[in-house]
């Protein structure tokens, strides 16, 4: 427990960033139902489960073009 408290100052921003990123990606997935590949269910699970990499892959490769 002591160990955990020692790391809290760096863990909290890390967790906040991760949650913020996952939420942004999740909202984007739900609002823009066009993807370059994959479907809504796949991307929802992917961006939430795969930390950091998931949302980044979605924004960089999976996000469809906005018409």
């Amino acid at each position: 427990m002591d160990v955990l408290i020692e790391y809290l100052p760096v863990l909290i921003p890390l967790i906040v960033l991760e949650v913020a990123l996952a939420l942004t990606a999740l909202i984007h997935v739900l609002r823009h139902p066009n993807y370059r590949f994959g479907n809504k269910v796949f991307w929802c699970i992917f961006v939430v489960i795969v930390q950091f990499i998931g949302p980044i892959v979605y924004f960089a490769a999976g996000r469809g073009e906005e018409e």
Partner: protein
Amino acid sequence: MRAYAAFVKKEFLEMSRTYKLLIMGIIFGVLGLMNPLTAKFTPDLLAALMPAGMTIELGEPSVMNSWMQFFKNIPQMGLIVAAVLFGGILGNEISKGTLINLLTKGLSRNTVVLAKFTAWGIMWTCSYALSFIITLLYTNYYWEDSADSVLLAGAVSGVWIFGLLLIAAALLGGSLFASMYGSLLFMGGIVVIQFLLGIIPDLGRWMPTGLISNNMSLLEGNMGLAGFMRPLLTAVLLTALFLGLSCAVFRKKQL
């Protein structure tokens, strides 16, 4: 000048709309947080994972471990993500034809290349600075001693200059091949050639790849600042050369 400012602004708008700003900010922010954390945490983690009765002696993690993580993570993870984003800078716009309207309205082609370099340079500088400041703050928080500030400044600026070189290479690749993949391959090729030439010791001392691989030996004092200046000089010259070349190539480019 007005066209230049407007185009820089347009680049930033594009970065935020395509979520590149978000990706860069978060990646570099997270890397900044991870460096001191991994350095501090590894011994505890190993101790927790070892079977009972087994011990390995690990030195108390030091400031150097934190900076070692920084100079390992940023060039590996950070620069790779950055390079993928840099890849589309010019190539995407040429292949999609979105520049045609602006150019026929009288926007100079040099302005396009230079404004893109400025905008992406600022973006790279800010994300890199973010990562560095976070690592610096946490390193000062967890450790009482600190690294030599002059050497640290030298080592940190090395990676920064290398990033700028990559942006210039991406612009040249984009104007040569007019596609994102061409640009990415060109950047990769530039780095691979540097590593190959680096095998010859006399040439190796001048290769800009030294800026992302010798940071720790500089910081630990095994290598003088003078040894770091040589690749720095090459990198600055190459950046200028690439920029000039991509202006020249892009001027002649059929859109």
